[in-house]
Symmetry: C2
Subunit: 137 residues, 2 copies
DNA sequence: ACAGACACTCTCCTTTTGGTGTGTATAAAT
DNA sequence: ATTTATACACACCAAAAGGAGAGTGTCTGT
């Protein structure tokens, strides 16, 4: 993926993860999506909803450790816009709104799973790498 | 993963991606790692190095579309610190430095692959969701 | 009459992020 | 003597991210 390089001896020996069609607009969209879904809060919200099923706003706020109200609202809105969560408003008083993952959101959760597992699996290796780096530079 | 919820009827029906030990410090480390590796530039650099193998600084700059020199240096340093890339300095003049993925970096690339594939696979669905959201709100 | 619950919104402020442009060391080439 | 190439570092500045806290509407409970 991604063209370029003025240098001739690079190129080929590629084998990108996905068979590409090299549409620059689509590429931009995909990068945009990646930029959004790879957001820390998005990932944590997905994880929380995966584990707990449907949750209300304040419950989410308590569960996603360290998130501010503002960020929670913002994250949820964007996720709703992208079709990752379904927002259900029950018109009662006091207000009752709950959030659940859509199938799309759940599929993203699975895709992320690989990264979580990677992090859990390799954190030791990373800590050692950091120590080495600090020690020798 | 992650405790809490004052609500009793939540809890259980969990089944997190990874068998946890609930060490809060480790959890923080993992979140920190996620926060760093899920960075846009990190992902793009990994992808570029995966496709092209060893590259020099300026080649990377040209290949990773839109990255500034500053961000490239910064990203590479952090990746080096975390053991994702190996930085090799050839003491010649003019300077020659090249970068390659470590096995750890390559394994992260594979983990990310799932997210890339997800994005490529579902971008249509997302576009439709966005259109719907704009239309009805 | 007043407080409380809920799901926000709005404003203010600080921190972080990231771009641009300039400087540097050194030797070879012009 | 000047230019070129390389891999940055550093300083300055604009924009974006994100936290804190107050406000809002409406009904219920005291």
């Amino acid at each position: 993926m991604r063209r370029a390089l003025a240098d001739p001896d690079i190129e080929k020996r590629s084998e990108g993860p996905v068979p590409e069609t090299f549409d620059p607009a689509l590429e931009k969209l995909v990068e945009d999506i990646i930029g959004k879904v790879a957001d820390k809060w998005t990932m944590l919200v997905i994880e929380t909803l995966e584990e707990n099923g449907t949750l209300r706003f304040t419950q989410l706020g308590k569960t996603v450790s360290g998130i501010s109200q503002k960020m929670l609202t913002q994250t949820l809105r964007r996720m709703e816009e992208d079709g990752l969560v379904r927002r259900t408003v029950h018109p009662v008083i006091p207000p009752h709104v709950d959030y659940a993952l859509t199938p799309l959101g759940r599929s993203l959760g699975k895709a992320f799973c690989g990264v979580w597992i990677w992090a859990e699996k390799h954190h030791d290796e990373i800590r050692r790498a950091r120590a080495m780096f600090k020690a020798k530079g």
